[in-house]
Symmetry: C2
Subunit: 700 residues, 2 copies
Amino acid sequence: MAYLEKLFNPTSVAVIGASRTPGKIGYAIVNNIISSGYHGNLYPINPREEEILGKRCYKKVSEVPEVVDLAVLSVPVSLVLEVAKECGRTGIRNLVVITAGFKEVGKEGAALEEELNQIVKEYKMRMLGPNCLGLMDTYTPINASFSANSPLKGEIAFLSQSGALCASILDWSLQKGLGFSKFVSLGNKADLNEADFIADAAEDPYSRVIVGYIESVVEGERFVQVARKASLKKPIILIKSGTSKAGAQAASSHTGALAGSDQAYETAFKQSGILRARSMEELFNLAIAFATQPIPKGDRVAIVTNSGGPGIIATDNVEHQDLKMARFTKETVDNLRKNLPLEANVYNPVDVIGDADERRYAFALNTVLADPGVDSVLVLLTPTATLDPLKVAGVIIDIRKNFPDKPVVTAFMGGTKVVEAAERLSRSNIPCFPFPEPAIGSLAGLVRYNQHRLEAKEEREYSFLGEKRRVADIFREVRDLDRVVLLGSEGAEVLAHYGITVAPTSLAVTPEQAATFAEEVGYPVVLKVASPKILHKTDVGGVKLNLNSSGEVERAFVDILDNVHHYLGNVQICGIEVQKMVPRGRELIIGMKRDVQFGPLLMFGLGGIYVNLLKDVSFRLAQGLTQREIERMIRETKAFTLLKGFRGDAPADVKSVVETIGQVAQLVRDFPEITELDINPLLAYEKGVSALDVKITIAS
Amino acid sequence: MAYLEKLFNPTSVAVIGASRTPGKIGYAIVNNIISSGYHGNLYPINPREEEILGKRCYKKVSEVPEVVDLAVLSVPVSLVLEVAKECGRTGIRNLVVITAGFKEVGKEGAALEEELNQIVKEYKMRMLGPNCLGLMDTYTPINASFSANSPLKGEIAFLSQSGALCASILDWSLQKGLGFSKFVSLGNKADLNEADFIADAAEDPYSRVIVGYIESVVEGERFVQVARKASLKKPIILIKSGTSKAGAQAASSHTGALAGSDQAYETAFKQSGILRARSMEELFNLAIAFATQPIPKGDRVAIVTNSGGPGIIATDNVEHQDLKMARFTKETVDNLRKNLPLEANVYNPVDVIGDADERRYAFALNTVLADPGVDSVLVLLTPTATLDPLKVAGVIIDIRKNFPDKPVVTAFMGGTKVVEAAERLSRSNIPCFPFPEPAIGSLAGLVRYNQHRLEAKEEREYSFLGEKRRVADIFREVRDLDRVVLLGSEGAEVLAHYGITVAPTSLAVTPEQAATFAEEVGYPVVLKVASPKILHKTDVGGVKLNLNSSGEVERAFVDILDNVHHYLGNVQICGIEVQKMVPRGRELIIGMKRDVQFGPLLMFGLGGIYVNLLKDVSFRLAQGLTQREIERMIRETKAFTLLKGFRGDAPADVKSVVETIGQVAQLVRDFPEITELDINPLLAYEKGVSALDVKITIAS
């Protein structure tokens, strides 16, 4: 049983605020439930009516002779709380609150919504809305909404945070003949949100693909968990808007500066296997492809065309979309050559040339579909005098039945001459596009999902047992000193407690301490002024490199203090950091910025002073981060090319880099008070790594 | 008079190979000319007929009572040469050769095409084709093609290298109500090619935008010259296919490796102001926008919507497309606030909310169009109960008349409920899209063209008077020595002759010579083995750095020879290069690869050993390269950020970098025998630059 079974498939429904007056929302809901063919018991509730649309009307939901599975509320906003309470007392477990006037109208509404949610929780109810269009399920069937249209039956579970978009899409889908299993207007998402409906649709036997429009995610970490699991079962395609608002909060770290406001969503979608559509059009092209086509076994595409130009365009797009042009077997090539005209191209793309009829198309399509090296097929058609597009559509529909495991999509390019054929194809579950590019784009979506499903296993999070208590002590000390930014030596200590190799670093408050530490760790060492107030240490003479004796160290200590006071007067100084100079390695950066929705967002890439210039970075959420994902995160960057051994260099120790990222992930999961973290550079060697500079900021 | 006036607007036409038999090409052409309403004299030519479609038929074109302006040839391929000669002798100046069987069928056909072209040249004729559909001009009017459809009258000049695509697009355009001024099937482009038709359409008063599909460009440099000039007058939008074939030729330079096979086209289009469409759909969205909308003055977009979600999607896209959301004046905001409901959003995007009718739309649209801070407007609509989309279309059509200088595009989202309104808008020259993204995309195209037109002036090529003869001498010497790759010292000399500052470099064949040169230029110096056979000099001990005295230099000389012979045996060595060590600067690369179509293609970007890793490069054709373009080329890279002064560095001498690129451009224009060139690194200082390593390859 799916998670929200009783919401979508209730045995009985009450519509509270039902109306006899056409044009009113309370009328539309009752009317939609009836005309959608709902089989269960329907109870309109209105204290002033005896009967609505042939159904006996009740004054209160508590007077209904049974405890209904679902109550749809369309009462004035001032009555919603009271009615919700009554539902709860009556034992009703599922609410759809249509009524608007909550969070979307401001502060007062938000308070009201909070109260409503309290009532829902108190009575252990679940609620869709408030401020929504309602929901539909074409298999129950039920249309518990005030939408002007009802969807066709199909295999797409659709959810939308915008009610207006629901109306548009329903209208559009009727024209295109596109069907839905479920159709949900999310409204304000006070209780049930996208995560719930994705979890539900994942279990729903009638939903083959989950498609949605969202503007935000309510519970980031849960959303990722749910989507990650669901995407192993069926594809999830979302469009996420609101990406343009440039991150307003000032960023004090490299990671903060490089992770734009949309980065966390982008990462969360990628990491949970959600296909992110870049446009409404792509959303629906993908939805149609997933709802009608099998998932292909691989990325090898064959193209059958009756003209060169469109064939070239399609071939270009195969490469642009990271797909491969199938290479035919000798048998296929021979067979095509024997049976197609001399001028035909028997290699991929197969050109059956301008005078082809439907039989020639049939032969070519059959032959390439039978080739074991072909995973999916695109059929292109341009109108010619010798061709009846409708007949070509017919043979495509017939032939694809013999190859149920291979997706077939089409692009019939033209106007009046192909419109009927295109409709026939669509009705027979073969997507037909007006141009080659979206056809290849939809195949690419199928292939990408297949790759995700093959690669993503339910894997365990990479974990590490850090010295939690020791780190907590450091943070407490820092806070006690009224600081939020850790000194380099403190940061190094934190990392060390989580197993990360750091260049030996210590804080000295006297020249003698500095020299003692230097003697301990060995020369050469570097001295750096330690002060939360000084950002550019070099500029104020706050750094001395290559010190080779205790004498040099003591002298440098004094010099640095002199320099800093010369430039900055009586600036606050915590001491001087002494760090053993380690050999040069490949410079990397590992960073973290805490996202308000999705928690810690990790960054990896080329490090050093040019990190903000080169912007060679990749991101992952720390939550649920697996070793495989860390490896993928590294591979996405140019830094990986460097690590593998660029220009004849020996390969660096990638395994240690993976471990370090995993350890940082554990650290930031264990300590929600870490708001930002930068290790830059992390030096990678042929064996091992060494964290050179670390900056950790904690919440005050 | 436009360049190809007599081809598109002939006073008289002969159709050679005319036929009485419907279904034959020779029939279709005569029929199309007649039914297109052609006013001039039409002479069908067929030795076996007296009359065709009511027109008197002639046996030969030489028997026609006048010298026709245009002859359309649809005779068997075996007769084409003879007929073309006859046309030439008769004094005919324009041919359209429909007949196929030339270059497209292989070697023999290519030879035939070459002969045909010779005849065309001999008689000073111009020819479209062979192997084409023909041409159409809706203002003449004439349809001199065998297409099954005739285009609607409009302002788009269309050219296509694919005949099948012509047929598809015509069929499609009739369904969409899209009109054309000219419609040309380019065929094999033996004589007239895309450059000719672009030049012609640029002068044509009836063509407002030039749109085309091409697979290749015949005369690269002329194409760029023509398009550059034409694009100042009217927009050119092209889709170029065949981008996927990975460059097959092995590349021996960084520039060769980084400039993919499509890079020269990409660069040529950019540099000549051509808007390159990424898909067929984008091609036509842009075509429609340019054919119907004024060019906006700036990039500030206002959005009027009746629902939030689509407004957010559109706002996202404004940013993604590098446009700006208009900021309204106080007056506009006050006016909107006074007249719209309380819940409406009076800032951009203006949300007239769900219960809006056409009057509310009218008010909002009028108000934002009147705002001086608004350059263009997108109207979004989702169907609601209170709204008649057709009436909204009506008010948009009315209002936009009062603002003829501001583009207005629309996205009416829905199906049956909006279809009529969308058609009405399209018929009234207001583009209506099904989703917000293509609407914003089309505005972005208009804005981009406006920016191009504002920035691109008919500017002079950046030129430099190099010591041509001295460089020619060096190349001759290198060739005499049977080499194609110049030694570093030779390359440095070449650059120096073109005014480029190089680190002093000389070739020494004895230790004493090396020491003498070092004494001359001053210490420290570096010694490098000079051999065309040794690629990785460091790996074989072929480099010695930081030499500070004549003794060290002499010793290093001997050491290098020993090392190299130890590693590589009796490898060919030309001597040892002595180079003065120059201070470290910001590392850049300037490179050149000669493109077979477009000539020398320059590259600029971050240099050093990581150039292939970082891939931070931009490209320009050397041909016609202006100072402004060089500056733009630099600004496109991250290297520019470095030059400006990154992390508090002082700015580097960008002016000298510009000069150096200009000097390299002149050098590679002056010497077509230079096939590849890399300066890596070019060091940029606060004052001046210095070329450190240069590799020049010349044709053998």
